[in-house]
């Protein structure tokens, strides 16, 4: 029952926002919707831990939430809540400065709801086909968000986003069809009872290995493009830097991870069916490739948001490496890393949004230095978030990274851990150099005093506080959830 409610809340909010015209009301709907979504997600986590067999079913077999999807739902809820808080202040100032028309703001609020609904559908649906439809839904709803500003660059970004995403999803569809075909091979010609992931997972060993292998390749390239893995990542920096900040926070924070979730479903089937490291090696290889490619781009980056986008590319790469190594320790680390990254990255994008609104530029040369002097609060939060994202101790990312590397070394895949660690180091150096010269020193351009909307403060301070708390004290249920999710990915049913 709770799954349907969880899905319907954002859907209804979306439909409602189609009708409502007043921006203030839209903001309220937005906050309310995502507040309830997060609350329901937390309840879902509780329900999953208690539920028999660790699975909560909804609407018959159609919706299914195991530990992994509950964790993803929670991440979706938190990031959407954060960006909605920030969106309030952000869009009010955009309207005041005339950067956007009221119509565009309405468009933002409406599309965000559909974007969130699609993402929740991806994580909660049981049927692989419908999961593909949901991922397609996320793509469609977010492309117009990217093109919100309707400038030359945002249209270019949107077009590339939809074209590359479209191609990826067509290949993913082909993969899904092939998976279905692999299952058909067993069922003797008549229609398969259900294309649900749980049943597929059950009879995975009887799937046709050759077909499954081909299917996983298409699934990997398809969902890999949506997840922004290395050679297919070209749309990521453009889309994340051109989208309005709340959207790029959601894109970077959670939409990449949702695509990785979809990829994981395929990976679990392939591992169960092929009993070989085929899919694991793909994940590991492309994950490392993403981390290595992110390095040079961050080192010589000229634009703040593009640098944050490449940082997301690197973190997704690390998560894939974690899943690619496929030992309980590394998978636990990867899941934990997803959560921490989802808390830290949005704050960076919100800060970038503030800077963009104040300086009307994102190019480091034009921003100059002395941000600490002109926008002290944003500078402080940016600094703290930067420390968190580069994996320095007080914040959780350091623990999750070290867990992944420890798992790599124990499972005698030391070289993978070493390469990943060096890639992290390169990105760290690039980001440190940029942030140091941005935050410190004497301010270049003359900027008006910084004015603070309550929404902004909440959106930026709250996630960091939560991150710090979670870094120090991980509540027992959360740990149990992650262990069970790791079990699911690792191989237990």
């Amino acid at each position: 029952m709770s799954l349907i409610v969880l899905l319907c809340v954002p859907l209804v909010a979306g439909l409602l926002s189609l009708v409502v015209r007043h921006v203030r009301a839209l903001e309220a709907i937005n906050l309310l919707a995502f507040g309830t979504v997060t609350f329901l997600a937390v309840r879902l986590v509780g329900a999953v831990l208690v539920a028999p067999g660790g699975v909560v079913l909804g609407w018959g077999e159609f919706l299914r939430a195991d530990a992994l999807s509950a964790w993803m739902a929670l991440v979706v809820g938190v990031v959407s809540l954060g960006s909605s808080f920030y969106a309030v202040g952000y869009f009010r100032r955009e309207l005041v400065e005339g950067q956007l028309t009221v119509g565009r703001c309405r468009e933002f609020y409406r599309l965000t709801h559909f974007f969130a609904t699609a993402m929740l559908l991806v994580v909660l649906v049981n049927n692989l086909g419908v999961m593909w439809v949901a991922v397609e839904g996320t793509a469609l709803s977010s492309v117009l968000l990217v093109a919100l500003y309707n400038r030359k660059t945002s249209l270019e970004a949107a077009w590339k986003y939809i074209m590359l995403g479209g191609v990826g999803l067509v290949l993913a569809l082909f993969g899904t069809v092939l998976t279905y075909a692999a299952a058909l091979g067993h069922a003797g010609g008549e229609a398969l009872p259900s294309f649900d992931w749980s049943s597929m997972r059950g009879m995975a060993s009887q799937l046709d290995p050759k077909l499954m292998r081909l299917a996983f390749i298409f699934l990997f390239v398809g969902y890999g493009t949506k997840a922004g893995l290395a050679p297919m990542h070209s749309w990521l920096p453009d889309a994340h830097s051109e989208a309005p900040s709340p959207t790029s926070a959601m894109l970077s924070g959670v939409s990449l991870k949702v695509a990785v979730y979809a990829l994981l479903r395929g990976h679990m089937l392939a591992t169960a069916c092929l009993h070989s490291d085929f899919s694991r090696h793909l994940l590991l290889g492309f994950g490392l490739l993403s981390m290595i490619i992110a390095g040079p781009f961050v080192l010589t980056q000229k634009n703040l948001k593009r640098m944050l986008a490449y940082s997301s590319l690197e973190h997704v790469g690390l998560v894939c490496v974690g899943f690619g190594l496929n030992t309980p320790l590394t998978v636990f680390g990867a899941l934990l890393h997803m959560g921490y990254h989802a808390l830290a990255k949005p704050v960076l994008f919100f800060a970038a949004g503030n800077i963009h609104q104040r300086y009307h530029a994102l190019d480091f040369r034009r921003l100059g230095g002395g941000l600490g002097r002109t926008m002290p609060m944003t500078a402080l939060l940016l600094a703290v978030a930067a420390v968190a994202i580069s994996g320095l101790p007080p914040f959780g990312l350091f623990y999750s990274e070290l867990t992944i590397f420890a798992g790599a070394f124990v499972s005698h895949q030391a070289w993978a851990g070493a390469v990943a660690l060096l890639a992290l180091l390169v990105v760290f150096c690039g980001m440190l150099k940029r942030f140091a010269h941005l935050l410190l020193g004497r301010p270049g351009a003359e900027i008006s005093r910084e004015s603070w909307a309550t929404g902004n403060v909440l959106a930026m301070v709250l996630p960091l506080v939560v991150l710090l708390v979670l870094s120090i004290w991980l509540p027992a249920p959360a740990r149990q959830l992650l262990e069970r999710a790791a079990g699911i990915i690792g191989g237990a049913p």
């Binding site: 990997f220 390239v221 070209s234 085929f278 010269h437």
Partner: protein, 681 residues
């Protein structure tokens, strides 16, 4: 009850309170200053007492690990283990922390109007806490967390005066190098973790035996690189003379005195405890690295005329000496001579605390000079001894100590190192034993060059006439700064005159690392004389030297009473061959002083000098003359700059991957798909 443990907890609480207090009161500059640094001093004092009592009473050896908190990751637990080695290093960090905190009460007054002093005090407290945590870490998690926090906080402090670009650049370079060494150390521990399966130090103890020799050597090399960068061993030292001078002086004192010692702590902990029986070449490598660092460190220091850069290079030299001791000790452990190993280790550890005290004193001295004259350039100083007598005397005491001259502590630790190197000659029969005496000779060269360098540093900065307006107007620094320096001076005197006392306290540490406590074998005649172990080996007593030295002064006094009763003293101009009179510009400058050595070591320095002459009709009647000479920093020019250049060049080349055309991006996906299809089918 275990008093040292309580004191340690009190110290930690003091630091946290200091940090919080300084941050809360940061609006009220002076209050934040006194609260922050006051509590830091209290914390330091408690830490010092805890370290000393636990070493002296031997409680440290008995104490086990204590688990406080378990974090999100599976085996992440906060484990604190104050064994003798940790207590020794906690003593150092606390002693220096307290002295510098008192000094900072006066020093950071200069920042009151300009900068947020509360932030400085808070970061200072946090850095002390992180460093103490690094030393008492019980498992790899806590060690790495504290290690990275230390690097982050030190970065915050180094970039405190971030107005000028050079400071920011230096701070970024420092943080990158710190992070590189953190990565190396992490990789090293991960290699160990492979065999140990558990992150706690107890689990890791002696795990080297379980590793294959290839893995053990990789782990060792990773640790040497990682801790080498932090300590500032020569090929990896380039960040030190860049970062320390730009930091506020009290911070650079703390960094030079303690932060680079975390590298030494790491090497000691890993090589002696975790990696099991070391092969001979490990010790030889450390000894060689130490020797090279010592000689090159002091040679480059000689060429500096920026006071703080000079002291930073000297940190490299002294670290070299410490690592020589460690290297020798490792060689003795591998050839099975525990007594000699303990002696070499005692020399190294004793030099660690000595260096912390006199280097801290010298940096605080340099800070006082900077506070009074607002310049670090020795060419613009001079005549400060008459304007800042106490600071000058304290700086002189530090200079004598660092040049390893008899009555003070530098001499004692180098004497111990010499004894270890000398007796090492007979310890093995492989050709490597020649390294000991040659190392001794290089140590002698280093000591003499250090003496030359500090004659220059003290002579040119403090003596003769002031060479600039700033030096002319210099006034003595406030009392708290002098008190801070005086504390360190007292430490130098105590460590110098009564070495046997502290060496006795080092017993448990040596017992922990080399299994031989040398209890009492180092002191003769009731602790007045320091003796090397072994039958009628050499012995020295700085206290007796001082006493006899003073008594010998009676001879000239007696002769003056006898012969020169009516002799009076007249003050007259310095003898100037009858010219109009000596002007300050005619005095010997720092560059001039080091000129002979620059000529002798020309091959290393490759000096470039440039004279620009402005004249109307004939070059011999120049209107103005500009002379500029600089020394080439080999490692920076030959290794670091090209690496940086090539990395950025390749990155720019890779950027071309994302040059905007949608077709190319689609082609990437297409090729990936084709590649996978061909590979998989």
């Amino acid at each position: 009850m275990d008093y040292p443990a309580i004191l340690l907890i009190v110290a930690a609480c003091a630091y946290v309170a200091g940090m919080a207090g300084a941050l809360l009161l940061r609006r009220v500059g002076r209050l934040a200053l006194s609260v922050g640094f006051g509590l830091a001093a209290v914390g330091g004092a408690c830490g010092f007492l805890s370290g000393v009592t636990s070493l002296a009473t031997g409680q440290a050896a008995a104490r086990g690990a204590v688990t406080f908190w378990s974090g999100p990751a599976p085996n992440l637990r906060l484990v604190i283990q104050a064994d003798p080695l940790s207590c020794f290093f906690v003593t150092i960090v606390s002693m220096l922390g307290a002295a510098i905190a008192i000094y900072s009460l006066g020093y950071s007054g200069a920042y009151l109007g300009r900068k947020s002093v509360g932030l400085l005090a808070a970061l200072y407290n946090a850095l002390l806490l992180a460093t103490t945590l690094t030393f008492v870490a019980g498992n790899v998690w806590v060690f790495l967390i504290a290690w990275e926090m230390m690097a982050l906080l030190a970065y915050g402090l180094v970039t405190f005066e971030h107005e000028d670009r050079e400071t920011r650049g230096a701070a970024v370079f420092y943080f990158i190098m710190s992070h590189i060494d953190a990565v190396c150390v992490m990789l090293g521990f991960l290699v160990l973790f492979q065999a140990a399966g558990d992150f706690s130090f107890d689990g890791l103890r002696g795990v080297g035996a379980k590793l294959s020799s290839g893995q053990r050597d990789t782990a060792f090399l990773l640790f040497v690189v990682g801790f080498g960068i932090k300590a500032g061993l020569v090929p990896l030292h380039v960040w030190l003379p860049v970062a320390h001078p730009v930091a506020p002086s009290n911070v650079s004192a703390l960094m030079s005195g303690v932060l680079i010692k975390t590298g030494i702590y790491g090497i000691a902990r890993v090589c002696f405890e975790f990696l099991g029986g070391p092969p001979l070449w490990w010790g030889a490598l450390l000894l060689a690295l130490g020797t090279v660092s010592a000689v090159l460190g002091v040679l480059y220091a000689l060429m500096e005329h920026d006071l703080k850069r000079l002291l930073a290079y000297h940190s490299i030299e002294n670290i070299g000496i410490i690592v020589m001791g460690l290297g020798a000790s490792l060689m003795f452990v591998s050839t099975g001579h525990p007594v000699l190993a303990a002696l070499a280790l005692a020399a190294a550890l004793y030099h660690t605390i000595n260096h912390a005290s006199f280097k801290g004193l010298l940096f605080l001295g340099a800070g006082s000079v900077l506070h009074a004259t607002h310049t670090r350039n020795m060419e613009e100083m001079g005549g400060l001894v008459k304007r800042m007598p106490q600071t000058a005397m304290l700086f002189l005491l530090g200079a004598v100590a660092i040049s390893a001259l008899p009555p003070l502590n530098g001499f004692v630790s180098e004497w111990l190192t010499y004894q270890a190197l000398l007796q090492g000659f007979g310890s093995t029969d492989s050709l490597l034993r020649l390294m000991f005496p040659v190392g001794g000779a290089m140590l002698a060269l280093t000591g003499a060059l250090a003496a030359a360098c500090f004659v220059k540093a003290f002579g040119i900065s403090f003596l003769a006439q002031p060479r600039s307006q700033a030096a002319e107007r210099a006034r003595e620094v406030p009392a708290s700064m002098r008190l801070g320096m005086a504390l360190l001076a007292i430490a130098c005197l105590f460590l110098g005159l009564f070495p046997t006392v502290f060496l006795g306290w080092l017993g448990p540490v040596m017992n922990q690392l080399t299994g031989e406590a040398l209890a009492g074998r180092l002191s003769l005649a009731g602790g007045w004389v320091l003796a090397a172990p072994g039958a009628n080996a050499g012995s020295v007593s700085t206290a007796a030297m001082t006493l006899f030295g003073l008594s010998f002064l009676l001879v000239p006094l007696f002769l003056r009473r006898m012969l020169g009763r009516r002799a009076k003293t007249v003050r007259g101009p310095t003898w100037d061959c009858g010219l109009q009179g000596l002007t300050p510009r005619m005095e010997y400058s720092a560059t001039g002083f080091s000129k002979p050595l620059r000529m002798i070591f020309k091959a290393l320095f490759r000096p470039h000098r440039e004279v620009q002459r402005e004249y109307e009709f004939s070059p011999y009647f120049a209107r103005s003359l500009r002379f500029e000479s600089h020394v080439e920093e080999v490692f920076e020019e030959r290794i670091y700059r090209p690496t940086r250049f090539w990395i950025l060049r390749v990155s720019r080349r890779v950027r071309a991957l994302q040059q905007g055309s949608l077709q190319v991006y689609l082609l990437y996906i297409f090729l990936t798909l084709l590649g996978l299809l061909l590979w998989a089918v």
